[in-house]
């Protein structure tokens, strides 16, 4: 119950902030942090709970972004519809990739996600309607509905999306679905013999994760006012989506949130001063350091500190 109350409070807070006279920069930064929370939580549903490492997060983000773009260009669809359609499409993609690879070892799922990035990037670059290799400029609508600007409305929408992502992760974790996924991860054979429909659960995780990743990408064209393949199918998304849950902790839904807030804030501060490549390097190094030294992430460190100080 406390969880839902916090969510409602957060949502109301976001709305008030958006209606207030707060600095615009706050919203640009806030959007990135919120998007990171969605990405990290979505990644972790498949990575942390089921044990499948998605190395092609840019493919899902990109698919979501371009699906939203298509909805905008073809139907002038409102942002919520764009997000919904994007999520449906990427959920289906996640499901199909899973169908192809989850019966095999985990590494083949990961390689399939690398393949996806190639395929989508090539598809987009060859499709003039979506802007091709050079990309496309977009005009953001003037009005943000009830809000002073469209941008602020986007941030409120993103807040809602973040709440949805975290709530989904929390539900999966605490329900018997979460326990079933843990059983599959611990011993797939024993799980099957305990009545767990391992294939179905894995495919569910693939679909949920894919859908949320795409939904996170959907607002991108509107947020940036332009879209192009190179920055959408971007290495930084791939590293960050992996690093945030690992740094935060993969066993609990709060881990990705912690990792996202820390990493996204860090990057906001640091990108101003150093290049984006160095950014990726730092994130990559952090990822490796945590995997080696603190594989349970910050959540794990806190647990251990708590139990040792008793």
């Amino acid at each position: 119950m406390r969880f839902w109350i916090s969510c409602v409070v957060l949502w109301i807070g976001a709305v008030f902030l958006a209606l207030s006279g707060a600095n615009n920069y706050l919203f640009f930064a806030g959007f990135v942090v919120l998007q990171s929370i969605v990405l990290a939580s979505a990644w972790n549903i498949l990575g942390g709970y089921a044990g499948y490492v998605n190395f092609g997060v840019p493919a899902f983000i990109g698919a979501g972004a371009y699906a939203a773009l298509m909805m905008h260009l073809a139907f002038a669809a409102p942002i919520l519809l764009q997000i919904a359609v994007a999520g449906l499409i990427t959920g289906l993609i996640g499901f199909l990739v899973g169908l192809l690879t989850v019966r095999l070892r985990g590494i083949f799922f990961s390689i399939a996600t690398v393949a996806l990035v190639f395929i989508f990037e090539t598809l987009v670059m060859n499709t003039a309607y979506l802007g091709g290799a050079t990309g496309m400029q977009l005009t953001r609508p003037e009005s943000g509905g009830l809000f002073p600007s469209y941008m602020r409305m986007l941030v409120v929408v993103m807040t809602g999306l973040a709440i949805l992502a975290v709530a989904t992760a929390r539900y999966v974790q605490e329900s018997h679905i979460g326990r079933g996924l843990r059983a599959v991860r611990d011993s797939e054979e024993a799980a099957e013999c305990s009545g767990v429909p391992t294939l179905k659960l894995k495919l569910l995780a693939c679909a949920l994760s894919g859908a949320l990743l795409g939904a996170a990408g959907a607002p991108l064209p509107m947020y940036l006012s332009y879209i192009e393949p190179a920055s959408t199918f971007n290495l930084l998304y791939a590293v960050s989506a992996l690093a945030m849950p690992i740094i935060g902790g993969m066993s609990h839904w709060i881990g990705p949130v912690i990792g996202a807030i820390i990493l996204a804030s860090l990057q906001q501060i640091v990108t101003v001063t150093i290049s984006s490549e160095l950014n990726v390097l730092v994130v990559g190094l952090l990822l490796v350091v945590f995997v080696v030294a603190a594989p349970e992430g910050i959540v794990g460190l806190v647990k251990r500190w708590k139990s040792s100080s008793k």
Partner: protein
């Protein structure tokens, strides 16, 4: 596209030479992933390191192939040490660490790729050598010298490795360690040292293979991603752990890519590797020649 036999023949010959190269760059993975079951997605990234290493040595006037040979012992030692750390960190902790092992290797891929961008920049780099540029002419068909050079080195590497694995004691120990560690221990051989040796060899081979990559085409830091597709395609197509299968599989991929390149254009060629990989995984995951 005018279909002519000559063109097809050229595509096939080109594909065979290219395929030999693909087999060579996949040899290390055949050992580390095929035999030892290590989720080494960083293999193509290390390959690229070898290529850039040869490139840098080229600034001192060192011929690429020579550079590759010089780098082999360095890479070998690095690989052996790396495996020891990997073993201590991950394989001893047990099966809960499977995700972590994979995440670790992907982390290394990121670091290498972006490190190369920072150090060398995003532009393509090439090497110069007497056999780069210029081609052998057989009637209507032109085979670039660099491709022939690449193919020759590749064949020699493949043969050497294959012989080592089947004729020497430690070579056969490497083949055995993936299947039955217990038996090795009973013979007084430490499985961890054997795996270190194997991973060292897999990495060392990458140095020379990387130099060959440099000879063949201009290199740039994001190339490792397409090679993830190509190397894993070859290894899976071959059937995990089959050395001779690796050669055959490389040829198949090379010819397939070459034909697609000739008749459908360059933007479709990378899709062949990933596509073939997916098809194999869907219908015959044990590969064509596997155990």
């Amino acid at each position: 596209m005018v279909f002519s036999f000559d063109l097809l023949l050229e595509a096939i010959l080109f594909g065979i030479l290219l395929g030999g190269f693909y087999a060579a760059v996949s040899l290390g993975l055949s050992v580390s992933f095929g035999l030892l079951d290590i989720p080494n997605v960083a293999h193509p990234a290390v390959l690229l390191l070898g290529a850039y290493g040869a490139f840098s040595l080229g600034h001192y006037g060192v011929d690429p192939i020579l550079a590759g040979l010089l780098l082999m012992p360095v890479f070998f030692v690095a690989g052996a040490l790396f495996y020891k750390s990997y073993y201590l960190i991950f394989e001893r902790r047990g099966d809960a660490a499977a995700v972590n092992g994979l995440a670790f290797f992907f982390g290394i891929v990121f670091i290498i790729e972006v490190g190369l961008v920072i150090w060398y920049g995003v532009d393509q780099q090439s090497a110069t050598a007497p056999y780069i540029g210029g081609s052998l002419e057989l009637g209507e068909i032109r085979l670039p010298y660099r491709l022939l050079a690449a193919f020759s080195v590749a064949i020699v590497m493949a043969l050497a490795l294959s012989l080592y694995l089947s004729k020497t004691f430690y070579g056969r120990a490497i083949k055995a360690v993936g299947q039955d560690e217990g038996a090795l221990r009973l013979m007084g051989v430490d499985p961890v040292r054997v795996k270190q040796l194997a991973f060292g060899i897999a990495t060392g081979v990458n140095a020379l293979a990387g130099a060959v990559l440099l000879i063949l085409a201009p290199i740039e830091p994001t190339m490792d991603r397409i090679y993830i597709g190509r190397t894993f395609c070859v290894v899976v197509l071959a059937g995990l752990g089959s050395m001779s299968g690796t050669l055959a599989a490389g040829l198949i991929l090379g010819i397939a890519e070459s034909i697609v390149l000739m008749f459908l254009g360059a933007s479709w060629a990378p899709a062949v590797a990933f596509g073939l990989l997916m098809v194999m995984l869907g219908f015959r995951p044990q590969g064509l020649f596997g155990r």
